[in-house]
C-alpha cells in the first residue's frame, strides 16, 4: 500500500544520492502529491547544484588567490615551530619552568666553583662517614597493660591475748621492769577517764598514730 510520508522521505535520500532512477514511474503515477513533491525536490537540489557553477570564480581569480595565500604562508610560523608551540601549550607553564631551570647558564669564577666543588665533596664524605658510625639503637618500647591494685584504707581491729601462764614465770622479773610503764599506763588511763571531753569540738586527729603494745602487762589489764 502506498504511504506518502515514507515515499517522500525516501525521495530525499534517493535524490541526494543521485539514485532517482530507482523510483518507479508506476509508483509516481499512482500519487500526484508524491510526483509534485519529487519534482519540487529535484528542482531545488538542481538549483543548489547550479550554484557551484554559478559561484565559481574565473580562472584569473585563482592566480591572485594563490599569490595571496603564498604571502600569508610565508609569514606564518613554519610547521615545526607551530608544532613545538602546540606541544608547549599543552605541557603548560610547569614544563617551561623546568626547561628554564635546566637550560639556564650562570657564569661562576673558577676559584669559587672549585671551592664549591670541594665543599660539596667534603660534605659528601662527612655525610658518608656519619652514616657508617654505629648508632645505638633506641630501646624497643613495648606497651604492655599492667593491672595495678588500688590500695584501699581499711580499719583493722586486732585483739591481743596475753598468755597468763607463761607470763607468770617471768612476772616477777618483769614486774620491776614494767613498774614504771605500768604506773604510766595507769596514770594515763585514770587521767583519760577523768579528762574525757564533753564534745569533739576542736578535735584534730594526729597525722601519726603511735601504738605501743605491752605484753605481760600490769595486773590491771583484762
Amino acid at each position: 500500500m502506498h504511504n506518502c510520508t515514507e515515499t517522500k522521505e525516501r525521495f530525499t535520500e534517493l535524490v541526494l544520492d543521485g539514485r532517482i532512477t530507482e523510483i518507479s514511474a508506476a509508483e509516481l503515477d499512482t500519487c500526484a502529491e508524491c510526483r509534485a513533491e519529487l519534482d519540487a525536490l529535484n528542482m531545488t537540489l538542481r538549483m543548489t547544484s547550479r550554484l557551484s557553477e554559478t559561484a565559481a570564480p574565473a580562472e584569473s581569480y585563482w592566480s591572485g588567490y594563490h599569490a595571496r595565500l603564498r604571502d600569508k604562508l610565508a609569514i606564518a610560523p613554519n610547521p615545526s615551530h607551530a608544532e613545538k608551540q602546540r606541544r608547549k601549550e599543552k605541557l603548560g607553564p610547569l614544563f617551561e619552568t623546568m626547561r628554564l631551570c635546566v637550560r639556564t647558564q650562570v657564569r661562576v669564577p673558577l676559584p669559587l666553583a672549585l671551592a664549591a666543588i670541594i665543599a660539596c665533596l667534603a660534605l659528601g664524605v662527612f655525610a658518608f662517614r656519619r652514616k657508617e658510625t654505629p648508632v645505638a639503637q633506641p630501646p624497643l618500647l613495648v606497651h604492655v597493660p599492667v593491672q595495678v591494685p588500688v590500695v584501699q584504707e581499711k580499719v583493722v581491729t586486732r585483739v591481743v591475748y596475753r598468755d597468763r601462764r607463761s607470763s607468770s614465770r617471768n612476772s616477777r622479773r618483769a614486774i620491776n621492769d614494767d613498774a614504771q610503764a605500768e604506773s604510766t599506763f595507769a596514770k594515763s588511763r585514770t587521767s583519760s577517764t577523768d579528762e574525757i571531753p564533753a564534745s569533739l569540738n576542736g578535735f584534730k586527729p594526729t597525722d601519726e598514730v603511735k601504738l605501743t603494745v605491752i605484753k605481760g602487762g600490769s595486773p590491771y589489764e583484762k
Binding site: 541526494l16 565559481a56 570564480p57 574565473a58 581569480y61 604562508l73 610565508a74 610547521p79 615545526s80 608544532e83
Partner: protein, 203 residues
C-alpha cells in the same frame, strides 16, 4: 610527471613551502566552494578558505597518511567553519539576506565562468545565484553546513555526525530541515521570478 599527493605532503612536512602551495592549488577550488556556500560572501569565502590552508600548513606534520589528504583537509575546514560560527564572525552577514553581487562583475576577483554581463544567461545566473544564496542564508549555520556536506561533498550521515561532533540523527535532521526550507524558498509556488524557475527546469 606531476608529483603525487604523498610526495608533496612529505615535502611539505619537511617545510617545503612550494610543495604545500602545489597541494593548495590542487584542492583550493573545493575548499573555496564550500567556504563560498557557507558564508555567502566572496571576500569572506577567500578569508575563510585561506585560514583553512594556514591551519593545514601549520598542522601538516601531524598528518599520518591514515586517510586521504582531502579527508584530513575537509576535517580542518569543518572545524574552521564551526569555530567561525562560534566566534560570531559571520553571523551578522549570514542572517542578512542581502547578497553582494558586485564581485561577480569584477574581472580579477569574481568573474563568472564564461559569462558576459549583457547575456540573458548571465542575468539568469545572477538571479539564480541571488535566490539560492538567500535561501541558504535563511538556514542556520549547522543546517547549512550539514546540507553542504551531504549535498556537495556526498558525505554519509555518520561521517557528517563525526565531523560535526553530533549524533547521526541530528545530522540527518539538519539536512532534512535544510532541504525543507530550501524547497519552500525555491519551489515554484513561492514568489520567485518565472524565468528562474524555467531556467532551473532546463537543467
Amino acid at each position: 610527471m606531476a608529483d603525487s599527493d604523498t610526495e608533496l605532503i612529505k615535502r611539505a612536512q619537511a617545510q617545503d613551502l612550494d610543495a604545500f602551495c602545489l597541494l593548495a592549488e590542487r584542492y583550493a577550488r573545493r575548499i573555496h566552494l564550500l567556504a563560498s556556500h557557507y558564508c555567502q560572501n566572496t571576500q569572506d569565502a577567500e578569508d575563510l578558505s585561506q585560514e583553512v590552508w594556514l591551519k593545514a600548513y601549520q598542522a601538516v606534520q601531524t598528518f599520518r597518511f591514515d586517510s586521504s589528504f582531502y579527508t584530513w583537509l575537509r576535517r580542518i575546514t569543518i572545524n574552521t567553519f564551526l569555530n567561525h560560527r562560534r566566534s560570531n564572525f559571520f553571523r551578522w552577514r549570514g542572517q542578512s539576506t542581502v547578497v553582494q553581487l558586485l564581485p561577480i562583475d569584477l574581472d580579477d576577483s569574481g568573474e563568472l565562468v564564461g559569462s558576459s554581463s549583457a547575456s540573458p544567461e548571465n542575468i539568469y545566473n545572477k538571479l539564480l545565484f541571488e535566490n539560492v544564496i538567500n535561501a541558504l542564508a535563511e538556514l542556520t549555520p549547522s543546517q547549512r553546513l550539514a546540507f553542504l556536506l551531504r549535498h556537495y561533498e556526498g558525505m554519509s550521515y555518520d561521517e557528517i555526525a563525526n565531523a560535526m561532533n553530533c549524533s547521526t540523527g541530528t545530522a540527518k535532521k539538519g539536512v532534512w530541515r535544510a532541504i525543507a526550507k530550501l524547497r519552500a524558498r525555491l519551489s515554484p509556488d513561492s514568489h520567485e521570478p518565472e524565468p528562474l524557475i524555467d531556467l532551473a527546469s532546463e537543467y
